[in-house]
């Protein structure tokens, strides 16, 4: 080794050696906050009152909004639970209706176990995947290769969903695919198409996830009637 190895810590004893116990201060050579060098520059302001006042107002507004909602809308309460009498349809709480809608199309182990597990694992690993850290525009390099892979993935997804009649996934996927390839087909140097072209693959996947979850949840909430048949909410 030619480079002299630097100690990672400076250790300094307290000058006040009379005192017991002896105090030792440890100064890491790098600042205590990791990635200090990446910290964004920007004007600093005092937390009190600048942030504290915002928090107080925010809390007040949240309380006011919830209180107003509570004055206008009443929490539902039906009859006493009766295991003998199954309502048709029996619906899960709204935030699980996406899964219930999936259960309607796919086998239970896929819809109820595999897909939710994949979604959670997919979310957790986002920051550990390099593509998501770099987030380059989808069409920045090798456009032809990108369009082929993207099309193949979309066709595969649709191909898996169509036999299960999961059109509520197929249709939003195709629409988003259409949006994603616009900058490939009609490249522009400015305007919204240019902006779209700079969206990263991560953006597209997350947007797809959010759109599909939202569509499934809305369908499960408003468009499903007895025996999970399709209904129109306004009829």
């Amino acid at each position: 080794m030619t480079v002299e190895e630097k100690p990672t810590h400076l250790v300094e004893e307290s000058s006040d050696s009379q005192e017991t116990p002896r105090r030792i201060a440890v100064f890491p050579q790098r600042l205590p906050v990791r990635f200090e060098d990446q910290k964004k520059p920007g004007k600093l302001v005092m937390t009190f009152p600048n942030l504290v006042i915002r928090e107080v107002i925010c809390l007040q507004l949240v309380v006011i909004v919830v209180a107003l909602m509570s004055l206008v809308f009443d929490a539902p309460l039906e009859e006493l639970a009766n295991p003998q009498h199954t309502p048709n349809p029996a619906k899960a709480p709204w935030y699980f209706l996406g899964i219930q809608e999936l259960l309607h199309s796919f086998p239970p182990i896929v819809a109820g176990v595999i897909i939710p597990t994949l979604a959670v694992v997919g979310l957790v690993v986002i920051p550990y995947v390099n593509i998501n850290v770099k987030r380059e525009g989808l069409w920045l390099r090798d456009r032809n290769r990108t369009v082929i892979i993207l099309s193949a993935v979309v066709i595969l997804t649709a191909g898996v969903c169509v036999p299960f009649h999961a059109y509520s996934i197929v249709i939003p996927s195709l629409l988003l695919y259409g949006l994603a390839v616009i900058p490939y087909l009609f490249p522009r140097d400015s305007g919204w198409i240019n902006w779209l072209g700079y969206r990263s693959l991560s953006d597209w996947i997350m947007t797809w996830f959010v759109v599909v979850v939202t569509v499934l949840t809305i369908i499960g909430t408003y468009f499903r009637g007895p025996a999970w048949s399709w209904i129109w909410p306004w009829k």
């Binding site: 990791r34 302001v45 504290v52 919830v66 929490a75 309460l77 006493l80 639970a81 009498h85």
Partner: protein
């Protein structure tokens, strides 16, 4: 004003409050943060940009405040609630017709819970689209995902507690999914429900999960979440 100053000089006052009013200098403003248990979670200074509404839409903050509302209204609801059949259901009727403002209390708890699911999800989206999960914030993102799952579980376990038709069948649909977990599915469902079917023991289990275990877990993880925000260098 004189009396005010005198009051602040009394031994009792000074033993309770560590900050002296008025707050005039930046040193005083720093001491407000240092000297308070609830404030010292903040740094003394923050980036002006990071505290503007358009930066975070305050969605994490709003989720937290909704949780505070849920704890307060939830503890009050516990005063009127027995996790038994049919008492639980009758308690709901009592809240509506007997307890002063009982229905309002129940509404507050209900709507805050729904809103919290939405705001925590939107908070996740804001963090994602801003790229605020990038190193060194990877772990805090993972903590966030668990927070979102805990929020959903809290909502789900609370759903059973009124023990009406809506509650019973919604939880049945959810619990049936547990059956499909390979190998341990049936056992897991049995453990969750305290039986093969929703009944008295399910109500007690969901009650304990909803009022003790899950809120404690969420509180602990929120503390970790906030601590990590600072350790990771403040807001992105």
């Amino acid at each position: 004003m004189k009396i005010w100053q005198k009051l602040q000089d009394t031994v009792a006052w000074r033993s309770i409050f560590r900050t002296r009013l008025p707050i005039k200098t930046n040193l005083d403003r720093s001491l407000v943060i240092f000297n308070s248990l609830t404030m010292h979670i903040h740094p003394v200074k923050v980036r002006e940009l990071a505290i503007s509404f358009s930066y975070t839409f305050y969605l994490g903050m709003i989720s937290f405040f909704l949780f505070v509302i849920l704890v307060v209204t939830g503890v009050l609801l516990m005063l009127y609630y027995q996790p038994a059949i049919p008492n639980a259901y009758e308690n709901m009727k009592d809240l509506e017709y007997v307890v002063s403002n009982g229905l309002f209390l129940r509404n507050m708890h209900r709507w805050a819970a729904h809103l919290m699911v939405i705001t925590a999800f939107l908070h996740m989206l804001r963090v994602f689209y801003k790229g605020a999960y990038r190193p060194p914030r990877q772990f805090n993102w993972a903590v966030g995902v668990i927070l979102l799952i805990l929020t959903l579980l809290l909502s789900y376990t609370g759903y059973l507690l009124p023990y009406d038709q809506l509650a019973y069948w919604a939880v049945t649909v959810g619990a049936n999914i547990a059956k499909y977990v390979p190998v341990t599915g049936e056992q897991f469902r049995f453990l969750l429900l305290g039986g093969n079917q929703i009944g008295e023991y399910t109500l007690v289990r969901f009650y304990v999960l909803h009022c003790v275990i899950l809120p404690l877990a969420l509180t602990g993880l929120v503390a970790l979440h906030f601590w990590r925000i600072r350790k990771d260098g403040g807001l992105h």
